[in-house]
Symmetry: D3
Subunit: 290 residues, 6 copies
């Protein structure tokens, strides 16, 4: 069960109303890397998590993200107060209106003002928040990695937002929120490392001959690095279709008509693969491509 | 520039047409963890990446994911062929129709059949693919972590799809595709580790007093683990609002009216924090929360 | 600031796992009338509300809806546990799989299971939650009416869900949740009535000659009722275009070229309207149409 | 069946072309509170309504909203005419282009111009109209309340739009459209009151002990008002989890294993509740929370 | 202005209620090729069209599509009546419920029933209608081609729907609706041919050396046909990057090739702006509004 | 299988960084008429097409559109480089920031910059790309017409984009891309004409008495043209409901209760239609309407 305290997690003092800045702040309210996305990512994991430790952790962090959402939303509301007044009463002239509305130079904040100046669950371009932003799949070694990546993205977006204002109160609040993303990232990394082994994920091992292959699909001056060189990498310089045999088509019916032939084909292919398991890189191209 | 080879990267043989299974396969065609999402995640990074090595890598992998998209799409098309015929001609009776359409027990595949049986860019529930699935933000230490997490999710979803069929041709193709996700994950991890330091990301360091704090926001029988215990963690047992001073409200105008007072307040708060930097955990609760 | 208690607001005991029922429950988790929509509707109002009483109320109710979201999410997770296991391990045969997956007769729950069986932020057809469901506009007399309507819709959907199960534990929990919608509706109605006057809303009065007009736009056997009969209604039996004068076109430029003519035209139109203010219904058609 | 008259319901005269203003007008064309949303809300109710009087009413109003949609769309088209010409021919210089395009200070209108200057079914931030805006659920006491709230929102948004222009022709047309929302609201209120009883909605009565409870979920200086004070309100000052008994968890299996025990537990809980029905407010907290 | 006639454009008699069939019918109500999409495609063209003949035509057809939308919606409502009743009252047992709900074998119709059985603006998989389906761009030679294609798609989807039922009343009504798509297609084709020349569209001619080139981007056994053979086609068998010169990179500052010309051009533009620019910043404020 | 060449299909040289222009370019990257929409339209057709010639063609063109997507994305990235740097470092003052960000006058490009300046899969108003843009239905005579229309729309949008810049490098690249749309359009037209007959599409012929009828649904000064005049058109001047007999209602049950009566009614209606088949236009109105 949730409870609410009327005081914010973090005290906020902003300068003068600034609807353009308020609009930018929406990026962390209803944007893809924002606080609702964070809260819902962890909340959906929390309610279905079986492990009591991880369940506790994701509930803790989900709850804190809801508290951050409240901080951001309050900032947006405060920054819009003046502009809201302008819209609530007739302005002197059309010219005056456009000057006041467009001092920040944009129109999704105008849209926001039409809706009263409170924080809408949109990003800074006015796009409504969507649960398509949430990537929870109910597998801890996957979800924790998704969480780590999400915290890193949120940290960077906060950093960019901090760089676009010199309002000290806003910078201060965003500095707190940004810092908490770092702390959350650390928790998720610790929790991931506490699951051993965590690579490869799941139970199915995959086809070993393709686990370490790097397909050089993009031709030109190739750059090499630890992502395709050294270790157990097999660098396939000129990848070919039908990499594992056959004719590179998709077809139905053959299996139904002749399931034994299919099995013989698959068995033969398997034996061929076994036979030509690459002893050296110079053969890899042929093996993978034929 | 892209080029296409008429042969698939992987040969596919399916059994009898099976529109229900085809519909499930759409999850990896137009679903959030599917091949288009993967291809577009890496492609959007590739066109704006400045580092030539990483640019090459993400283009290589984006190109392979497009090739996987083609494999999955071809499987869906082949599995639907028969059902497409059923719809193209009048069936004998309504009862017969529903029996044939619902042998897989669902209706988003019926929707798919109404559109001709080809692979639609939807997930297995019929929801159109959305660029909201893409989390590229143009910062390598963030994007590479997003990529790692995405590959892990894709691996798990393939594993689940493999578990829901005993069609050997489908299992074989999905096994290949699943394996490649593992290889891509490895490349992204190597590329991330090649950037040093990669934690914390970005340039702004954050507020040190909150970097290592764990807020225990969820009350009950608390579970402890490496995500909030040991190392340099400060465990805040009873988090309070207004964690960094002030009254826990959001307000505007004060700064404009009295910028000096604001500075004095911030300065005093800073000194207070310096003065009470927690020497031991027993004091942390007071400092952070009260 | 939010805090979380590890115990649910309402104890839940379900019978056997039932993924089809879990899928239906998603309607109140990530559907348009569900608990996240409720929580976010009130939360967005709360952060920007100036009146301390209403602010307190919408925070109270938003917080309770979050607690309800947790109850619903926990039910979904529990109902899916068994099915999740089925997917996590290979099943004996494809026939067996489809039998088990489709015992509830649908496929968006299959999609849900592919994502691990936890509650996804979708409705029961698999459509992701969208902030387009939220109709907050930052005007209390509007928002409170929106809230009342939303609670009524939620109550009805809970009633329908209760009617589709005979699982006593599920009926019991849903009965509690449904009841709370009634209580919330009452609070919002009391709060709306506490604002006087609350009709018409806003400051602009509208054109009096059209405030009480009912345009009978749909021809055939007309039905009359209190919505167009009695009181001060003017029933316009045969509505005509260009209801307020002019030629029924839209055009630009005339105003710029001849603003005085425009004013004379408007003035003349106004006098005409005054002159022919309908003394009896038989004239109304002419008045409104010419 | 619908028929169309080539004359608008309301004559429109605008001043000079003004694409920025046209863009704002889109809010009532393809926005959430706009005329298409209104028309489709009532139309979807009309086709399934069984009561002939209400069916007639919602068809009447749906038809008028379509006529309003035409008025708004025509205004947008007229306001964009000049700008459309600018885009159709090469402009003199880049500087000139941006000056002309951004005279209203925004870019979603630039997007609109790229699409030819006709009214797109988007809101003023360029977001496509979505049927997610429609909240029809096929229950008259719910739908009529939704309609009332929708008309109030539309009235307020029109008022805000009127306040942002001093173009007399635009103000005049919007004044008419705004006024009609008031008239529609009145019709829906009359129709709702004609259904007795209309509270609580539906057939299921809810759990009486929770119908009048107000949970004070948000801690701090509590504000009291008619929404939680007086009448039959039970004010629960310190709401606890597991409000109706049990341990506050969600679990499956118990019912299957021991349905009799469940019934005894429920029966005992019921008796306990009966026994401790709160005689005075001072006891309520204990009753509701334990 | 629109008017409504209480009688449908086409009389409908259906057999027994059939919610599964009702659900399929939603494809033409709120689906991408459905009647709302058709009506809105033509309506958005109509309000901004300058040519009086085409304007008349698209209003005629838009109005007829609205009338079709009403026919389809009425069919859905009638087919759901029985099922709506089942949900409105408690059913005997959960087993009975699922049997009745899933007789059509799917769950998006269950979702629809939860919302009262009226026609929702979704497709047959439950996805809400989106204005993203509308491809109007305000250029007659483009829009008319879009309309032709849309009518063809709608005709085919109706044909598929006719093939999936043997209910004579439904087939009869859909036969009428399907036929009208053919008639509309003919009108649009005639209107397109009435514009001469209509190819290529617009004013800019394109680069002649690429107008007739066919790039053979897909390697394997090439198939030739009138789309790349004969006439003035240039068949480029092995397309290369950087097709028009240069090194195939994207770079800023180009002006590598002719940086002097750029500077002259920029300089001239700058001088022109200076010449007509306010001479001092103190005046800029006045000029620009600051 | 796809392969990638590190060189672009077309060399691009842009002038100075210009984030406002970059933002406009997004229209053809992630907008409805953009290159991803084109690539995915043809790709989804390609994987399910049975005819080898058309399959080859749509793969060729899909591959080229992916290459165009890369060109556009690279232009966006290059145009944003400078602005990305501005965001990556703290700017001097808030005023300076807004001046630099809003030099193009809009805010969806600000949103884009917050995400690092790389090309996001959105349109120029920031709306994420959606598969709802794709209208493939798996029927060649429909899909080819959809393709023709799509190419025409893309050509026009490119033309408009060319008209809004005087940057010679951008104009040059867009000129190439625009030209290719013309060439693709020609290929699709040739392929459509190679299918004979291609009108009407599909197998069901439709009701002959409605194939050539034009319903004049919009009253006022009617305009006539080849779309409703001449040839075999029957111009229905005053269309009536229940066009084909009956009472213009939708009802269920009658057929079940009295299938013979239904057949007699349908038979009688058919005979009546035969009897009054219009010999001359003057009778058509009566026939169709009564």
């Amino acid at each position: 069960m949730f409870a609410h305290n009327k005081r914010l997690q973090y005290t906020v003092r902003v300068g003068a109303p600034n609807p353009g800045l308020a609009n930018l702040m929406l990026e962390q309210f209803g944007g893809p890397q924002g606080e609702l996305a964070a809260a819902m990512r962890y909340f959906t994991q929390a309610v279905s998590e079986d492990d009591p430790g991880r369940k506790d952790m994701v509930f803790d962090i989900a709850t804190e993200e809801l508290s951050h959402l409240e901080v951001i939303g309050s900032i947006v509301a405060v920054l819009n107060k003046g502009a809201k007044g302008q819209l609530a009463e007739a302005v002197e002239s059309e010219a005056e209106l456009y000057r006041s509305l467009t001092s920040g130079g944009n129109d999704s904040h105008t849209t926001a003002l039409l809706f009263g100046g409170g924080p809408a669950l949109t990003n800074s371009a006015g796009v409504p928040w969507s649960a398509a932003y949430i990537d929870t799949i109910g597998e801890p070694t996957a979800d924790l990695r998704s969480n780590i990546a999400a915290e890193v993205r949120a940290k960077i977006v906060y950093e960019r937002l901090i760089n676009v204002t010199d309002n000290p109160g806003i910078k201060d609040a965003r500095g707190f929120l940004m810092t908490r993303e770092i702390a959350h990232q650390k928790s998720f990394e610790k929790a991931l490392h506490a699951i051993q082994p965590n690579f490869p994920q799941g139970k199915l091992p995959g086809k070993p001959e393709f686990t370490n292959a790097y397909f050089n699909m993009s031709k030109g001056d190739d750059m090499r690095g630890p992502w395709n060189q050294g270790g157990d990498w097999k660098f396939i310089d000129d990848p070919q279709p039908a990499v594992d045999g056959g004719d590179g088509t998709a077809a139905a019916g053959m299996y139904e008509q002749d399931v034994k032939a299919l099995r013989r084909w698959r068995h033969a292919r398997h034996r061929t693969r076994q036979a030509i398991q690459p002893p050296a890189r110079s053969l890899v191209g042929n093996v993978m491509g034929v």
